[in-house]
């Protein structure tokens, strides 16, 4: 299965830096800065415990991004399966050495660092699937037989995350996996059949009581949060009040009453968008969405321009994973999606998400820098595809 890899173009650091897509870096930095400012406000005007850490993590993330960017794409290609299996291994370790937090086991501690393997898996899965379809003849993409391996690659981590239990991440994980398969060109007929089968699977899961009551409650509560303001829907009702009371221009930085008076839950992580919305208003939230959209469009542009099939699959997969975080998080705090525990990337406080996201954008950057190279010139499948 291994492939012939052509030597990379040699170039100095200056040449490499010039090749970097600085727009992507700028927009990512603006997002991280928004996170820092909001975290500073959430902590009642204090750098501790979150804002200062957030800066350091972003700085570290930026270093990781740059390193990843300068790693040749073909090297990433060869690293894809190992990365996937490494992440799968970490996920499998969670039930044994994981830390229990809020009723779910999500974290493992390695060398003093808290890791959330499910977050790493989101990128690793995209890499693994991209690697698989990179080496697969396009004619075989829609062959059900060649669907077994990718589905297994998706199913294993999704199952493990689901058992933690972390329904939100499991859904997101499955979603990004399916997206990569679709990007690879899976026939719509099979997609429709798969969707029907998947729906039946979900029904079975619910009927077998594999989903915990609080998860069902969380999912159903978003449809009518006012019915039970102090129960499952309380947080949602409060977060809508925060965003809505922000109005067009917001209550002003550090002046959000909902957040400063503790009406909001998990203000520094999953509900950070509500504080931002309360303090900066409609202009602020639209601007923030604009930043996300800009990152997404830059990524999409990179994917379109990349000649490497692996590169463009990975980039597009990462971009869609990234944007689904944003859509689900904002949708959830505004009552459009169930409260499933998805952070707002680069703004929410959380090390693993930040670093994996930055590593992933490093991969995107690497795709950008190597956009003119085809990583598998000699592969037969390549020629089949471009015809």
């Amino acid at each position: 299965m291994n492939t012939l890899v052509l030597p990379d173009r040699r170039g100095g650091l200056r040449k490499n830096l010039a090749a970097v897509n600085w727009w992507l870096v700028i927009f990512l930095s603006l997002l991280a800065a928004t996170g820092v400012a909001t975290l500073y406000s959430v902590a009642d005007g204090s750098w501790t415990p979150w804002a200062a850490n957030h800066i350091m993590r972003y700085a570290l993330g930026l270093v990781i991004l740059m390193i990843a960017a300068f790693i040749p794409l073909r090297f990433w290609l060869s690293l894809s399966y190992p990365a996937y299996f490494f992440s799968l291994g970490l996920l499998a370790l969670v039930p044994f050495i994981g830390e229990v937090n809020m009723g779910a086991q999500r974290w493992i501690v390695i060398g003093g660092f808290q890791l959330q393997p499910s977050e790493i898996m989101k990128i690793a899965l995209v890499m693994g699937l991209a690697r698989y379809y990179h080496g697969l003849d396009f004619k075989r993409v829609s062959n059900p037989f060649y669907l077994i391996i990718p589905l297994a690659m998706i199913g294993l981590p999704v199952g493990l995350v689901f058992l933690q239990p972390d329904l939100g991440t499991a859904i997101l994980l499955g979603l990004s996996g399916v997206v990569v398969i679709l990007l690879a060109g899976l026939s719509w007929r099979i997609v429709i059949v798969g969707a029907i089968l998947g729906l039946m699977g979900v029904v079975t899961v619910i009927q077998m009581d594999l989903i915990k009551p609080y998860q069902i409650e969380r999912i159903t509560s978003f449809t009518n949060p006012d019915a039970d303001p102090l129960g499952a829907g309380y947080h949602l009702a409060q977060s809508k009040i925060a965003i809505g009371s922000g109005g067009v221009t917001g209550k002003g930085y550090m002046n959000g009453t909902q957040s400063q008076l503790d009406f909001l839950p998990e203000m520094h992580t999953d509900f950070i968008f509500t504080i931002f919305g309360e303090e900066f208003g409609f202009f602020g939230t639209v601007a923030l969405l604009g930043l996300y959209l800009a990152v997404f469009l830059i990524g999409t542009n990179i994917a379109m321009k990349a000649k490497s099939h692996y590169g463009r699959l990975v980039t597009m997969g990462i971009c869609i994973t990234f944007i689904s975080y944003v859509l689900i998080n904002t949708g959830m705090v505004m009552g459009l999606a169930p409260v499933v525990g998805v952070p707002l990337p680069l703004v929410s406080y959380g090390g693993t998400v930040m670093l994996t996201m930055m590593a992933a954008f490093g991969l995107v950057m690497s795709t950008w820098i190597n956009r003119d190279q085809d990583t598998l010139r000699t592969s037969m499948s390549y020629y089949g595809r471009i015809n």
Binding site: F138, V179, L182, L183, A184, G185, Q238, K240, I241, A242, I243, G244, S245, G246, G247, V248, T257, Q258, L261, D262, F263, G277, G281, F282, T285, V286, L289, Y292, L293, F296, L297, T300, A303, M304, H309, R312, L313, M316, I320, I323, L327, T330, G331, M334, L336
Partner: protein, 653 residues
């Protein structure tokens, strides 16, 4: 270009979803902004009720009968304390805290939010309170607070007039209806409403107006900031000035409680259940309204202990019954005054003479006069002076029952009065009409028999009256005016002039014979000669009454058993009514001693002693208290001592 198509599809889809998110933001932040703004403010702003101070109740000279006493309390805020048990132990070195009380505090700490103050002790003495304050800096989390509790300095002495307050019950709160602010006021911890007496009937006036303040709270309910509301301050309830004279009230209570029979050596003095009403005959002011035994209303304020409640409830002397208003007694011979007036109106002259041979034959049996040997021949004055039964049996055969009933009503019997105190008994003034209604379900018993008139004529049979009604009757006989009793003489805005009392529709001559008879009772060696007032300016005219509680009791040989040999609850009630001075009357009194055996023996001397105190002070002649202009009397400056605590064991710390 499958990839490009699909990538474009996903990008487009994502941007569409972004549009959806943007639309949602527009909904929340632009379209519905005002609604959410209101909800955010509702979240953080709470209206807090400020409890108004309750209006105070004073006697006719401004002596406080119900006041608001400063209540020194010790509170604990759990979140400020590391070692709660240790802190409580420190506090218990200053304030007496039983282990049970400490446990209660610890339980409340578990139950309540960490910043909610928990009451550790209340009703501290000033010394203890000062000590806790002094130790304050050392006792972290311990706070002191000065609140107010209702205080009745005269304790049981004025219990039935003033009443008491208590925590509002669910029924009280339901009765408020839609008034949200009042409902919230009633739900304030420590808030009290009137539960009995004037406290209850004038609750609205005494309660005052609750104020409010806006507080900003966080999600846990902790107050972050307070904004006082200048336009909605709390206003203290209105003052009530009563007609009661606290000093005379105490004197009357003391006199009433005195044993009738001197206790023998080593014997417990007998317990007396009695009541007295003293009225100003001109204004109707009720100067004394005493009922013994009574309860201490201070006990009810904080919630009465079950054991005390039960013992009060089971006491045969009925300390929970307001006897002057609710005690229903056969008036006995005091009713003869009514019969005599009715007879004169029916055309019988006071010179009408009847021979009393000790008994008469009527219907199918003998009626025995209380004096076995008979009184000889008496006119009307003599019949009152000697309280001859036979004379009135003679009148009963000449006067119709309905005439007697009509006169009785005119003189205030069978009526209730607007005193503001509930549970007034109307008594019974029997008539044909009354009997028909009373036996509505048994038509065969509705007929009035002439023999029954004989019983009513001497105040027995169906007829009953309350001590208040007897006092009103006496006042009306003394003045010939329709005197209306009243308890409230002043409100916060000033003194209320006494209601005008129109003349009773009666010939003055008809009253004179009765007044003459009453004068003879005390001053001309009549039945109550021992109860005579010596002061020539205050000659008292009275009438005794001894009313049967049960049918006459006979022993095995057919002799009537003497009262003293009967069990207490079968002994006759003793009554006495009087007014003074005989010329130009000022005060009327009625005294009822339950099972006191004899009106002249038990009730007369008590009435005399009370009247002696009343006439010596002559309160109606002294300037009264006007809440609008006068300062109330300071307790410390009272010329007499306040009553000692009724229950030395418990109550205040």
């Amino acid at each position: 270009m499958v990839f490009s198509r699909r990538a474009a599809l996903f990008s487009g889809g994502s941007m569409l979803l972004f549009g959806g998110i943007g639309y949602r933001l527009w909904q929340l932040q632009v379209r519905d902004h005002e609604d959410y703004q209101v909800r955010a403010d509702n979240n953080r702003f709470n209206q807090r009720v400020i409890v108004p101070l309750r209006g105070e109740i004073y006697d006719r000279f401004g002596v406080p009968l119900a006041t608001n006493r400063q209540n020194f309390r010790v509170l604990l805020v759990a979140e400020e304390v590391k070692d709660i048990a240790g802190t409580l132990a420190e506090v218990s070195k200053i304030v007496d805290l039983t282990p049970q009380e400490q446990e209660r505090v610890l339980r409340e700490v578990q139950r309540k939010r960490a910043f909610t103050p928990i009451e550790v002790a209340d009703n501290l003495s000033w010394e203890d309170f000062a000590k806790v304050n002094f130790q304050g800096p050392k006792l972290r989390g311990i706070h002191t607070e000065v609140g107010y509790t209702r205080d009745y300095p005269f304790k049981d002495q004025t219990a039935f007039v003033v009443g008491y307050v208590g925590a509002p019950s669910d029924v009280d709160i339901d009765a408020v209806g839609d008034d949200e602010k009042t409902e919230r006021l009633l739900r304030q911890p420590g808030f009290r409403i009137g539960k009995a007496g004037l406290e209850r009937s004038h609750d609205e006036e005494l309660r005052g107006k609750a104020g409010s303040t806006i507080v900003q709270v966080n999600a846990h309910g902790r107050v972050i900031e307070e904004y006082p509301n200048e336009s909605d301050k709390s206003i203290q309830g209105g003052t009530l000035g009563l007609t009661i004279d606290a000093e005379l009230q105490m004197a009357a209570m003391e006199v009433l409680a005195r044993p009738v029979i001197e206790p023998k050596e080593g014997e417990e003095p007998e317990k007396i259940s009695a009541s007295a009403v003293v009225m100003d005959v001109e204004t109707g002011d009720v100067i004394v309204m005493a009922s013994t035994p009574a309860y201490d209303p201070n006990e009810f304020n904080v919630g009465i202990r079950q054991s005390l409640w039960e013992s009060l409830n089971k006491d045969p002397l009925k300390p929970l019954i307001n006897k002057p208003l609710a005690g229903n007694y056969p008036p006995g011979s005091t009713f003869k005054l009514i019969t005599a007036i009715a007879a004169q109106e029916a055309g019988i002259k006071p010179s009408h003479r009847v021979h009393c041979g000790g008994r008469i034959w009527y219907g199918n049996r003998y009626f025995n006069c209380w004096k076995r040997g008979g009184h000889g021949t008496l006119d009307m004055k003599g019949s009152i002076k000697h309280s001859c039964d036979v004379y009135y049996w003679d009148l009963a055969q000449r006067v119709d029952i309905d005439k007697i009933a009509e006169v009785a009503h005119r003189f205030g019997l069978g009526e209730t009065y607007d005193l503001g105190i509930g549970n007034q008994s109307a008594g019974v003034v029997p008539s044909r009409e009354w009997k028909k209604n009373y036996f509505a379900s048994t038509p065969e018993r509705q007929t009035w028999f002439p023999g029954e008139t004989l019983s009513v004529a001497i105040g027995q049979g169906y007829v009953t009256a309350t001590p208040l009604q007897l006092a009103v009757m006496t006042a009306r006989i003394a003045t010939g005016k329709q005197v209306q009793p009243r308890l409230i003489r002043a409100h916060a805005d000033g003194v209320v002039p006494p209601p005008a009392s129109p003349d009773i529709n009666i010939k003055l001559d008809d009253l004179i014979a009765v007044r003459d008879g009453m004068n003879a009772v005390t001053n001309e060696w009549g039945t109550a000669a021992r109860s005579r007032l010596e002061d020539p300016d205050w000659q008292m005219a009275g009438k005794t009454g001894t009313s049967q509680v049960a049918s006459l009791q006979y022993d095995a040989r057919g002799n009537r058993i003497k009262n003293e040999d009967l069990p207490r609850h079968l002994r006759d009630h003793a009554l006495f009514v009087a007014f003074a001075p005989y010329e130009n009357p000022k005060y009327a009194i009625s005294v009822v001693v339950e099972h006191g055996s004899s009106g002249s023996g038990a009730a007369g001397p008590k009435a005399r002693d009370i009247m002696k105190a009343v006439t010596a002070k002559n309160p109606s002649a002294l300037p009264g208290f006007n809440p609008a202009t006068d300062e109330p009397v300071k307790m410390a400056s009272l010329a007499y001592e306040l009553p000692a605590s009724t229950n030395p064991g418990g109550g205040s710390r």
